[in-house]
């Protein structure tokens, strides 16, 4: 389906707003996409947003940037895709740049240091929660948990880089597919 009626300016404005409104990124941004692209602009259906999101999640990179490129491509073409990606990145780029110049020299300011002393353990809890959620969602037996523990241990010990671990995981997944038992139900 083509949407030649979509112009560059509203496209950029919409993605600029998405970039400014989506906190945390990833799955947390999905409602913001829907509010703007489905409810306000009627450019996409909720199903199309969900599908685009799933595709953007399965290729490398930043999901929101991928989403902007994918949607821009679909609505207007290559030029729109690039413009949408720039528009979605600009708010966070400018806000962070402004913050970095302000905070940069004040890491030891009393109030900033106090807030950060509470924020640091919260960040760690969020990362632990993300690991647990991902495992709960995608593991269906105890074997992957063991694999995760082994891989995490190797990485923590500094014996393996994250990229190497990712490549090994992908290679194991792919070889399990290549050498899967034929004419048989999938084994757990």
């Amino acid at each position: 389906m083509t949407h030649s009626r979509v112009h560059f300016l509203p496209l950029c404005w919409s993605f600029f707003k998405i970039g400014a409104g989506a906190f945390g990124g990833g799955i947390a941004a999905l409602p913001v996409f829907e509010a703007e692209l489905v409810n306000r602009r009627h450019w996409l259906t909720p199903a199309e947003v969900a599908e685009a999101y799933a595709i953007c999640q399965s290729i490398p990179g930043v999901i929101i940037i991928n989403f902007a490129v994918f949607t821009g491509l679909r609505l207007t073409g290559k030029r729109g895709a690039i413009l949408a990606a720039i528009a979605v990145a600009i708010p966070s780029f400018l806000i962070i740049l402004a913050l970095a110049t302000v905070i940069g020299g004040h890491w030891h300011n009393r109030w900033i240091a106090a807030a950060l002393s509470g924020l640091r353990p919260a960040v760690i809890a969020i990362v632990v929660g993300a690991a647990y959620r991902l495992g709960r969602r995608s593991f269906h037996s105890f074997l992957p948990w063991i694999a995760a523990a082994v891989g995490g241990g190797l990485m923590f010990a500094g014996w393996i880089t994250p990229i190497a671990l990712i490549l090994i995981g992908a290679a194991i997944g792919f070889s399990l597919f290549l050498f899967r038992p034929k004419h048989n139900e999938e084994t757990p």
Binding site: F23, P60, G61, A125, G152, G173
Partner: protein, 182 residues
């Protein structure tokens, strides 16, 4: 290699190997920042905290912030460009092939194999951040760390709060703790 080129390449590489977005990029970034000697784990954690409470995709926030810390305004630009490009190039090059990739059994199997690696990476990174947040010369966390970490984790596992709610609460608790006379 010039610093800008190295920054660009580092963030391009991080993004290229990050599948699933969001938090999956944290271990890659933390590792590279420490390996290049650009940011120690505790300063990385501070930037992570700020990236969580400011609008916009977390990965872009982190790249902009790290780039600025390493090489100023132009550094933040090349780092952001580096983190955005891989996905954009792949989508523009693949076009409609990307649409069908997800339904391929081989692709799904590969993704399935990736999951334990990602969970392991996130856990290892959490442990590294935890270690870097311990007071010097002890294994006992500070009171504010113990309280915020356990309460935040309980809330995160119990329900699904928006990360922003957790972060705002944690900042308030941090400030309150600092007001207690030692």
């Amino acid at each position: 290699m010039s610093l800008y080129l190295l920054l660009f390449w580092t963030f391009f590489k991080i993004s290229l190997f990050c599948i699933g977005g969001g938090y999956n990029m944290i271990p890659l970034m933390q590792h590279e920042m420490a390996a290049q000697g650009w940011l120690p784990a505790d300063r990385f954690m501070d930037m992570l905290a700020i990236s969580e409470v400011t609008p916009g995709p977390m990965a872009v926030n982190l790249a902009t912030f790290s780039g600025y810390q390493v090489a100023g305004v132009f550094g933040s630009f090349v780092a952001t460009l580096g983190v955005c490009l891989p996905g954009a190039i792949i989508l523009l090059a693949l076009g409609s092939i990307a649409l069908r990739l997800r339904d391929r059994p081989a692709f799904r199997a590969t993704m399935k194999g990736l999951m334990p690696a990602l969970v392991g990476l996130l856990s290892a990174t959490a442990l590294r951040l935890w270690m870097s947040n311990l007071p010097e010369g002890t294994w006992v966390p500070s009171p504010v760390t113990a309280v915020v970490f356990s309460v935040a984790l309980a809330i995160i596992l119990w329900k699904k709060p928006h990360p922003l709610q957790i972060m705002l609460g944690a900042a308030v608790v941090g400030i309150l703790f600092s007001l207690i006379p030692a």
